[in-house]
Amino acid sequence: MTQFASKISKVDALKFYEDMLLIRRFEERSAQLYGMGLIGGFCHLYIGQEAVVVGIQSVLKPEDAVITAYRDHGHMLACGMNPKGVMAELTGRIGGFSKGKGGSMHMFSREKNFYGGHGIVGAQVPLGAGLAFALKYKESDGISVTYMGDGAAHQGQVYESFNMASLWKLPALFIIENNQYAMGTSVARSSSVPDLYVRGQGFGIPSKQVDGMDILKVRDAAAEAVAHIRSGKGPYLLEIKTYRYRGHSMSDPGNYRTKDEVESFKNTRDPIQNFLDVMKKEFNVSDAEVEAIENRVKDVMKEVVDFSKESPEPDVSELYTDILIGE
């Protein structure tokens, strides 16, 4: 274990495991509810990528701001947003974080400093730079964390943001979650260079590549990046190599990759299973402790699903509210 990971306690480890497991079970139930017709439209699942967001969030403080794109359910759970409110938003109910008016891709929580949930690939990156600008302007100790995928890494506005963030030394952590496929197009078929982290270097941003299937490696890299940013030295970029098990969205049959490739990640690289092995070895976690976590997550998910079905649809009067403040 590295210097940072060695500082985690058994309590931390159990919490990371539970956080990752909750995301996975949440996404599995999302897929079920989608199949039952209770969730509509686009729905992008995070299964396989859980170690990324749980690892990053584990080194953040409450005053730090988080923003991401549309594969966002895991980020919201990791930010501490109530999973009931997230699932009820997926089912388009008044109990959802956006009163049912945002959907899977558009959810926010001022309380948890989560700034969305954005549906346009790459557009969250200038917004994230703006959160960092505001934190610096207000002389806050907080930083902004902006997640994007490997697909977004080809959008011009990402580099406009890198340039300004570096020029103005904004407290911004940029994270490319490289799950290797932008919808159906692999990185090899869309990027002129094999590694995406080098894209930060041209802007003078310290940049690293990290194994995103190992939460402790993610956490170590995040801790180093965050320490750099909090010391006032400006932004940092992490390219975190990960893998999504499911399609780009629910309607994606996934014909662009082989079953063997997917199975090999599931069977040998799974971030939750592998961390379970680490926990058992390093912290002597017992089967009973693991079972207790699994049961707790199961209970939470039952409540979550029930709430998302029972919460009513928004009243028709909601059609014309929240368009402008004060009207």
Partner: protein
Amino acid sequence: MTTMITVREALRDAMAEEMRKDPNVFVMGEEVAEYQGAYKVTQGLLQEFGASRVVDTPITEMGFAGLGVGAGFMGLRPIVEFMTFNFSMQAIDQIINSAAKTLYMSGGQMGCPIVFRGPNGAASRVGAQHSQCYASWYAHCPGLKVMAPYDAEDAKGLLKAAIRDPNPVVFLENELMYGRSFPAPEGDDFVLPIGKAKIMREGSDVTVVSFSKPLDYALQAADIMQEQHGKSVEVINLRTLRPLDTETIVESLKKTNRLVTVEEGWPYAGIGSEIVAQIMEHAFDYLDAPVMRVTGEDVPMPYAANLEKLALPSTEKVVNAIQKVCYV
């Protein structure tokens, strides 16, 4: 008390006064600080407020528009200057998808108190890519407020209102008006209401509705119609394009029963088209003649001086339209 000031000074004073009042207000854009503004609208702001509140950006419209929106989500009140609104097309996704829609998509949680401002429409001999009116583009979108000042009073009172408003505002200025002097109220408490038009000149025979620089043609045409045809023309300055002050237009039409709209933008799906639709719905029975629209011609702006002149609205075109609706 009023004093003569230029539109440029009025805009600058509006920003400076609001920046003195609220430390969360800041200005960003290309050449706004050290260069003192590409059109000198931000002159002196850097000296008074410093580089943290008057921020020169790289040429990166989509980036700094989005950065401004993000800062707005966190409670700052950015004034984002586009050197001209033509360049805002680079940033239009951030203005509409991020600034205008987020309040709704967040169930009312995440407002964005931001102003996007800069010169809009044609300047002089700058060709098609630098001569376009964005009024109907932005006015089309729920979640935005859209304003277009004509004179110094408008510039100051409307910009202050825009900066104080908790919603995203698109503020369309006009380069050719920057150097014009008008009487404007003194003091830093002068604020105009958003969504209220101003009757610039009362009349009883025909109503002409316009905004921004083309209001010049409407006012001149009103003089000509009075002098040459004895027609009394009521001229309305819209000031705000969204929300539109339909009530003032309808009340005027009830009196005059004839209406002409004047704008620089293209005719297709323009502000004039919207006004016509509103009149159909709210005042059809009061019309004594079909409404006429005077607009920019339906072509990309030509460079040649003679063609450019033909492509823009003019006093003559407004006079002709008024004569048509008055059957003279």
